[in-house]
């Protein structure tokens, strides 16, 4: 039995060594994905193009404008003279934010009253809009507070309300600078692993079916289970190598800290790979040609990716979809890999995820093996 599995393994690695496109699929996409996500994917908002219409034209209104000009979050691209100009700028997408400082802005401030400022935000990209609006509020708030403090001091507290305020001391744990790269790089390692290994394993088995070698092998004394082990074991090893490579790139190139234990990551990766290989096997039993496998992979992997919490928070999804995420092995693996990278926690915290992965792997493998046996008839 072990002899035959070993021979199958040797044959598989020999073929892999000759197959340029498989090697390409293994090495290039992960690296490209790492680079794209490492550099391009970010939730942070900088340099929002801004148009300002200052109808007040006072020292105060100029000070507020200056606060925006000096902020790294905003780039003032237009000093509008009329409302129409401001509106046009937003419509042409020359400005994402339009700020209107109405006449009388300074007067109200000097009386120690609340003075309104209008912010128009292009809501096409709701995410950016929301974040930009947050920064507008922040800058306006700081400006107001500083002004009130200054006013109170100058007038001997006659004007400017006495300052009773709660000051928030923010501490972001695990990722103190909220560097989105730290969040994305471990996620990319997981999703790239999912995509490459499902593809490689599904294609490898479907190809045997397509070429007719599967039937040829099944008339030899090899048992279906031996075939499956021999066929998937190489991809298990390849998956481990891929995680090792991408983790190294993440740590050394992108400087993402790895605070946990490599053994915990290895355990999580192994369980996740079992799920992924079972999935590839399952897809291969549903497809007669590599083309079908390609299409099926696309339809299966895309939702898995979106439901995993890779970038869209699961807590914001409708309840039904939230339930669905519990079936997604990538969901658990992302928790494990992010936690081992950033939080440095171990099995005592992650055993839930490990258990879930083991259960999914067991279920998927059982279905896949049964279907595979049936597909031989």
């Amino acid at each position: 039995m072990f002899g035959r599995i070993l021979q199958l393994l040797i044959k598989e690695l020999l073929q892999f060594r000759r197959d340029r496109s498989a090697r390409f699929r293994l090495l290039i996409p992960p690296v490209i994905q790492m680079l794209v996500f490492g550099y391009a994917a970010t939730f942070e908002v900088f340099d929002v193009s801004t148009a300002i219409l200052d109808q007040d034209r006072t020292q105060e209104s100029r000070a507020l404008t200056a606060a925006f000009v000096h902020s790294s979050r905003f780039r003032v691209t237009l000093s509008a003279a009329t409302r129409q100009q401001l509106r046009d700028a937003v419509e042409r997408s020359d400005a994402q934010v339009g700020l209107v400082i109405p006449p009388g802005f300074a007067e109200l401030l000097r009386k120690g009253q609340t003075s309104p400022v209008q912010a128009v935000v292009d809501g096409t990209n709701s995410n950016t809009a929301l974040i930009a609006l947050g920064y507008v509020g922040q800058i306006a708030g700081t400006f107001g507070q500083d002004y009130a403090q200054d006013l109170a001091r100058r007038t001997g507290r006659a004007r400017g309300r006495p300052l009773v305020s709660v000051s928030l001391e923010e501490r972001y744990w695990y990722n103190p600078n909220l560097n989105s790269r730290w969040f994305f790089v471990p996620g990319v390692i997981g999703s790239v692993l999912l995509i490459t290994i499902v593809n490689l394993s599904a294609f490898a088995i479907v190809r045997e079916r397509e070429v007719g070698t599967l039937e040829q092998i099944m008339v030899t004394p090899i048992r279906p289970v031996e075939f499956l082990i021999g066929k998937t074991l190489p991809f298990f090893l390849i998956g481990l190598v891929e995680v090792a490579i991408t983790t190294t790139v993440g740590m050394l190139w992108f400087q993402v800290p790895f605070r946990g234990s490599f053994l915990v990551l290895l355990a999580g990766t192994s369980l996740f790979l079992l799920c992924v290989l079972a999935l590839g096997l399952l897809i291969s039993t549903l497809c007669a040609t590599q083309q079908q496998a390609f299409a099926t992979n696309f339809f299966v992997l895309n939702p898995m990716f979106i439901l995993s919490g890779f970038s869209f928070p699961i807590a914001s999804m409708p309840e039904f979809l939230q339930w669905l995420t519990y079936l997604d092995p990538l969901r658990y693996f992302l928790v494990i890999i992010r936690a081992t990278f950033l939080k440095g926690v171990g099995m005592e915290i992650l055993w839930h995820q490990m258990l879930a992965l083991a259960a999914i792997a067991f279920g998927l493998l059982a279905v896949a093996v049964l279907r595979f046996r049936k597909s031989l008839d």
Partner: protein
């Protein structure tokens, strides 16, 4: 037959509403080449696949060496080899690596398979291609490599499903030389073929039609069963010849052949003058007219036509 290596009994397979194989039964002895012939859709490939245990029959038994294939597939697989129309080769492995892989799956000891591969490749004139990738071989060479892979574990039973379809005549001849060699070694062979000249080379033939076994005998025995006689009429205008002859009393069938037509009649002595007269009246030019021994093709058509009428 007491020394039967393969025994098939009541084999049936249904695909939906179609009964692809219907109660098939035959046996094959050691050193015998058993041919399965029949038109497309007669159930040849389905039968082969069931013998090779890659398909489960709905009913019936296949016994190899006294062991039931369905009950103990692992025990019999070791002695059986199956070669489908397109043998499953790995295009990205070399000739040697393909043979080695199949040898390893059958757990053939290294020195044994090396020796065996040497002999097999020499017999099929493939020795100089040993390091070539299988994907770069011609169709005929691929089939010969397939046969080498199928034989590397020295099977006692060889199942060949239309193995020479699309193979050039020279390779086909080499192929059959190898099969004759195996027959001398006592290998039992079941071969399905669409080439009727190949059917003639078999020791015994089974004629399949719509999943049923119509006739099973040696080629000579089958020919003896042919009722009536076969007339060969040489003519430069075979189509007009056929039109003139068809429908005459006593004419069972007309088959166009290279030099003219084979006319199947119930009684050669009585019908020969009648046909000659009809052809002269119709103005069809003929150069020769004589009674000949039927070929397998004549037989095939005649027997199937009779079977058709009977059912």
């Amino acid at each position: 037959m007491t020394d039967a290596v393969v025994e098939v009994e009541g084999l049936s397979k249904r695909f939906g509403a179609i009964l692809a194989v219907d109660g098939l039964g035959f046996s094959v002895g050691a050193g015998e080449i058993f041919g399965l012939v029949g038109p497309d859709g007669a159930g040849k490939t389905t039968t082969m696949r069931m013998l090779a245990s890659v398909m489960r029959p709905d009913e019936g038994h296949v016994v190899v060496d006294g062991i039931d294939v369905l009950a103990h597939p692992e025990q019999t697989k070791r002695h059986v080899s199956y070669m489908p129309q397109r043998f499953g080769l790995y295009d990205d492995l070399t000739v040697d690596e393909n043979i080695r892989f199949y040898a390893d799956l059958f757990e053939v000891p290294a020195e044994l398979w090396r020796q065996r591969a040497e002999t097999l490749l020499a017999a099929s004139d493939m020795t100089r291609f040993r390091t070539r990738l299988a994907g770069q071989l011609s169709g005929g060479m691929k089939q010969k490599l397939g046969l080498s892979c199928a034989l590397v574990h020295t099977p006692r039973v060889l199942l060949l499903d239309e193995p020479t379809t699309g193979v050039d005549p020279l390779s086909r001849r080499e192929f059959w030389q190898i099969l004759y060699g195996l027959r001398a070694e006592g290998v039992a062979m079941v071969i399905s073929t669409a080439y009727l000249d190949e059917a003639e080379r078999c020791d015994r033939l089974a004629l399949l039609h719509r999943g049923r076994l119509m006739y099973c005998d040696t080629p000579a025995g089958l020919k003896a069963r042919m009722p009536g006689a076969m007339l060969e009429i040489a003519s430069p205008e075979p189509r007009r010849l056929r039109d003139a002859v068809q429908g005459l009393p006593g004419v069972e069938g007309v088959l166009l052949v290279g030099i003219g037509a084979h006319v199947h009649v119930d009684d050669a002595a009585a019908r020969l003058p009648q046909i000659a007269q009809a052809l002269a009246a119709a103005g069809v030019e003929t150069t020769r007219m004589e009674t000949v021994a039927p070929t397998i093709e004549d037989l095939f058509v005649a027997l199937l036509e009779r079977g058709e009428k009977a059912s």
